[in-house]
């Protein structure tokens, strides 16, 4: 083992593809960190990536990452900060080459870039079916044969081991395909401290740390329901894990940044996207979130300890996606007086005109919302009896694209053929887009090996 640090500073600067690039830029600029993790994946991202790659063999990864790298790489190199990003999509090699081109363009050299792959099993489905994998939908129990012919992507969630290998090989930048969000921070912990993959309490601690920071500023005061207490959302600090070798850690942020790190800010994120808290399953460990203890240690520091984990299961989760029809959503702004009443009439007009054309949608495939009149909190918040301004949002979905296209033609005409005060049609006619549905399944761990590839630029 090389020289071990007493504690390692791991930050997360990107909670999802589309998060503010100021997060990583400011994490590097405003204080010390050792690792910068960046998460670019959502459930259906891989399907979009497969589509892009099928049109262009050099595409299929998160291009935002490359643009960000141009901004941050000189400073990261100067400060010795290593970057771990789930930006590889379904084409990590192309992402590596694009990152290598950035290294050259910036006049840097000696930068080691690694890919961690093995997650993409789209081309291995026949082989795995032959080996007995059923790919049953783990949420609904539905049969794989329902969707088999429509599958457009299939990726396994990898754990931290591939990232550890890449860091062990000296990578400055690690580009992953599909990995779990907590693996992005667990990887550097295992690498730095030499934790073993049967040291379940430590793996659990790293996983809890990863869960807390995986949505960036959501653990530093953003999205806190008692929001008036939070200062300076504009310059909110992104989270930093101060991890020690024994698995105890603190969540903090750079001094002087906005937001807060408190029991409440960390607890809020501990609850986020939680299922059964006693059995939080990852490829590396099963974590018991009811063992997590929190303690405030001065301003903007929360100590997290006591975490217990159990042996991981024998399975890995597959995230597959399939084409599932079409949808279109359009909206109009209805100005008052009597905006809500007029918006309801407008929605009714759309269905009547479609009925004239013999175009019908089932109730489950239609959606009408009157934004401004308690939509998100239907039945909870008070719906106003009337309103001076309402946004009418209306949408349909159907297997038949032509029906969806026909619907899309009936929204803008309301400006000149309905009640007065209808505007806000600048977006024009909405487009029918393909619905990409998500298919979660389990496969045996033994089928999957991660691959690490390192190049120096």
């Amino acid at each position: 083992m090389k020289n071990k640090k007493e504690k390692v500073l791991i930050s997360n600067g990107q909670g999802f593809w589309g998060d503010s690039i100021l997060g990583p830029i400011r994490l590097l600029r405003e204080g010390p960190i050792d690792y910068l993790t960046l998460d670019y994946l959502a459930e259906v991202t891989m399907s979009i990536m497969q589509k892009l790659k099928s049109r262009n063999p050099d595409a299929g990864y998160a291009t935002d990452f490359i643009k960000l790298l141009e901004r941050i790489l000189p400073e990261a190199q100067e400060k010795g900060v290593r970057i771990i990003a789930s930006a590889g999509g379904v084409n990590a090699q192309a992402c590596l080459e694009a990152a290598g081109a950035v290294v050259k363009k910036l006049g840097l050299s000696g930068v080691k870039i690694a890919t961690v792959t093995g997650d993409d099993i789209l081309h291995r489905i026949d082989e795995m079916e032959g080996a007995g994998e059923k790919f049953k939908n783990m949420d609904t129990g539905a049969s794989w044969s329902d969707v088999r012919s429509k599958i457009s992507s299939a990726n396994v969630y990898l754990g931290a081991a591939g990232i550890v290998d890449a860091l062990d090989q000296g990578a400055d930048i690690v580009i992953c395909g599909r990995v779990t969000d907590p693996a992005l921070v667990l990887g550097p912990m295992v690498h730095e401290f030499g934790w073993h993959f049967d040291d379940y309490d430590k793996l659990a601690a790293g996983t809890v740390a990863g869960h807390i920071v995986e949505c960036g500023a959501q653990c530093t005061g953003a999205n806190y329901t008692n929001w008036r207490k939070i200062e300076n959302f504009a310059m909110i600090g992104y989270p930093i894990i101060e991890m020690k070798a024994d698995g105890e850690f603190c969540i903090t942020k750079h001094p002087g940044t906005g937001g807060e790190v408190s029991i409440e800010s960390v607890t809020s994120q501990l609850m986020y996207e939680m299922g059964d808290p006693e059995n939080y399953i990852t490829p590396d460990v099963v974590v018991d979130f009811t063992t997590v203890k929190l303690e405030e240690q001065g301003k903007d520091r929360v100590r997290v300890y006591g975490i217990r984990g159990k042996k991981a299961t024998d399975f890995l989760k597959v995230s597959a996606s399939y084409a599932n029809g079409y949808k279109a959503i359009g909206q109009l702004t209805i100005a008052g007086p009597d905006a809500l009443e007029k918006a309801k009439i407008c929605a009714d007009i759309i269905w009547k005109r479609l009925a004239y054309e013999n175009v019908f949608f089932s109730e489950a495939n239609k959606m009408v919302e009157f934004l401004g009149a308690a939509v998100c909190h239907a039945g909870i918040a008070v719906e106003p009896a009337t309103s001076d301004e309402i946004v009418l949002r209306v949408g349909v979905k159907d297997a038949d694209r032509a029906k969806v296209d026909r619907f899309a033609m009936e929204i803008v005409p309301l400006v000149t053929s309905g009640p007065p005060g209808v505007t806000g049609f600048a977006g024009g006619r909405p487009k029918a887009t393909e619905i990409v549905s998500y298919w979660p399944a389990l496969i045996n761990k033994t089928r999957i090996n991660h691959h690490v590839h390192v190049e120096t630029f």
Partner: protein, 111 residues
């Protein structure tokens, strides 16, 4: 006196397939005891009657004074299938904090 849960608790929510997860945490131990008694799955189901069309599951996290609920069938299909504005249940936590309850006193319940 009548209060909203937002006076004694905070919340966060997100998506879980075609359902949402709603976590609610009390500011104090007494608040957690109160929430644990009050917030049965049936009470949640009634509160979210125009949002949640499936069953409600509840989990306890006493270590952080929190309850975690899964509201099944509350996202209009979830993911890219949903036509709803809040397709991921991001606002369901705030929705729970609207709940009004009758209590004797706020003593020991506020942060």
């Amino acid at each position: 006196m009548k209060i909203k849960l937002s006076e004694i608790a905070y919340a966060r929510s997100g998506d879980k397939g075609d359902g949402s997860n709603v976590g609610i945490a009390a500011y104090t131990d007494a608040g957690y005891t109160f929430l644990k008694e009050l917030l049965t799955p049936g009470r949640l189901k009634a509160h979210f009657k125009e949002i949640c069309f499936g069953k409600v599951e509840r989990y306890e996290m006493p270590n952080i004074r929190a309850l975690n609920f899964i509201l099944h069938d509350s996202l209009g299909g979830g993911g890219s299938e949903s036509l709803k504005t809040d397709a991921q249940g991001k606002t369901h936590g705030l929705g729970l904090l609207y709940m009004e309850v009758e209590i004797d006193s706020l003593e020991g319940l506020k942060s």
